[in-house]
Point group: C2
Chain length 322, copies 2
């Protein structure tokens, strides 16, 4: 169901990224003109293959640091989905300026452009990392204090804070989606992707960062996008904060074993040890999704099923089979 | 009591401001070299009268946007107190770039300078406004979700988020102090100061923004500084979040009546109406201070006593008496 408000052109920043490409297809399927802004630093044009020729799709290659280059896309837009950001947590630890600039400053530019053009809705891909290392599992949206472990997490929480203030100060509506680990087609990073890469380089050995007991919930990008569209159509507060994840979690060890199995099962799994995989990692993540479920939406796949589907897809894509 | 760790030179940004000037005196009283960095946009040199000639005090007039101009002050410093920021919430609503730049970006520069110079402790003047409009009173540090109402509040929460990430990523310790309304000497804004100004312009009429039922807790700056020093000496987590306020609150109506009384009682009080004084205002504020009290510190004055003392001081300063 698409609510009355869900019409008019849509801007998607990061629309050529792994989640953006799924979202863009869903928005086109709603019949809406979609304007993608992407600098292709993480996104790839081929992620939009099949819809690239759709006359309702506009693609603008631009860095968000350069509003003169893209701001006209905001004219007449009824909603803006801000997905563009650095997606590599470890890169942000090495240079905290990256998440400041690509996380917060670019988001601020998008907010200002949206405000100037009277955009009614701003939707943002936040993350479970805003919770830092929570003491409550599953973690509800009302959890505090919010003490991020990584610079990436700090940038996500900062954007949330400014979006909340923009909503209360200037009257636009904002949607803050706190994602579990999102997996699916178009992936260019993440644990499953990394394991495939490592086994390609050395089929006999899989090095796993940490002790393998890190356990998180995983959501397919199709589920993630479906959840966001549902919330957009059914929640209408000035600020709408929603966790999006699965009800279960799966450990890194289990993922490693499944990836090794599909590669023929001969690789030895070696753990580097330690409870977390890297500085800034949050070893345990499980979001409380009762709020979105009360609204009427639930993810189709469990974490385990989402991981299995993603492993199977990646194996098929690369010609790997049992 | 000063813990073993509290020695060595100290940097205070915003050290010529209303809270900074009280803090600088307290740090000098600890016997420590104090390096003040202040652009004098809000602070005033006369706030440091009486200590300006202390040989242990270094004053650097510099904007924080210009690290080349002040970063050498971080050399050898054992702790950095970051107090400099825009203090006018309404200014931030009119131009959100102000709190982005003077709030977050300057704080980020301070964090980076502290990191480069191996500073062990970073202490920050956050605010109750990070709680947005909480549903729980008194509001504890663990309250969530954190949805600031103002751009100023967003900048405070953003700085908290980056400080948390810096602590976890780079090993320095951070102290996040969430202030109630701080009042005392050296004030250049705030409700009491404003009421005195209005009565000076028109002794027969006092306009009060909102319906007067806004009620908040108030803390004298001397109490605030004593609380911060106590927490610094007794809390040692990577991230130390503490509310600092009084146990009671006082309404704007009561403050208006007290200010009118000390002016002779003849001014008519007129309320503009509405539950909040301005866009971005949080009409009800009462912080839960059980955490700092458990640590062993409690403010000397109630909100009512702090307000009374401040009114009396300001009246004496301006030659106003009953």
């Amino acid at each position: 169901m698409v609510a009355a408000g869900a019409s008019g052109p849509v801007v998607v920043t990061g629309g050529a990224g792994a989640i953006g490409a799924v979202l863009v297809r869903a928005l086109l399927a709603e019949g809406r003109p979609v304007r993608v802004i992407d600098n292709l630093s993480g996104g790839r044009p081929e992620h939009l293959a099949g819809v690239a020729d759709d006359p309702r799709l506009t693609f603008v290659r631009s860095d968000l640091a350069d509003p003169d280059h893209y701001e006209e896309q905001f004219r007449g837009a009824s909603e803006v989905w801000h997905l563009a950001a650095n997606a590599d947590i470890q890169k942000g630890t090495a240079d905290p300026g990256i998440d400041l600039r690509e996380g917060l400053l670019n988001a601020f530019r998008v907010m200002e452009a949206a405000r100037r053009h009277g955009v009614r809705r701003l939707l943002f891909s936040s993350s479970s990392v805003v919770y830092g290392r929570p003491s409550v599992f599953p973690t509800p949206e009302g959890y505090g204090p919010l003490l991020p472990q990584s610079i990436y997490g700090a940038s996500k929480l900062s954007v949330e804070a400014f979006l909340s203030a923009f909503a209360h100060s200037y009257g636009l509506k904002t949607y803050l989606f706190r994602f579990a680990n999102i997996i699916g087609p178009f992936m260019t990073h993440g644990v499953i992707y990394d394991f495939f890469g490592k086994l390609q380089r050395d089929p006999n050995r899989l090095e796993v960062l940490g002790d393998g007991r890190q356990a998180k919930s995983y959501l397919r990008s199709e589920d993630c996008v479906a959840g966001m569209l549902f919330v957009r159509d059914h929640a209408d507060e000035p600020v709408n904060v929603f966790n999006l994840g699965a009800r279960d979690r799966i450990s890194v060890r289990e993922i490693a074993e499944r990836v090794v199995a599909i590669h023929g099962g001969r690789a030895r799994i070696e753990y580097t040890g330690g409870e977390r995989g890297w500085v800034g990692d949050v070893p345990q993540q499980l979001l409380d999704i009762a709020k979105v479920e009360r609204l009427g939406w639930t993810p189709a796949l469990t974490s385990a099923a989402a991981v299995d589907r993603t492993i199977a897809e990646l194996a098929r894509e690369r010609g790997i089979g049992r």
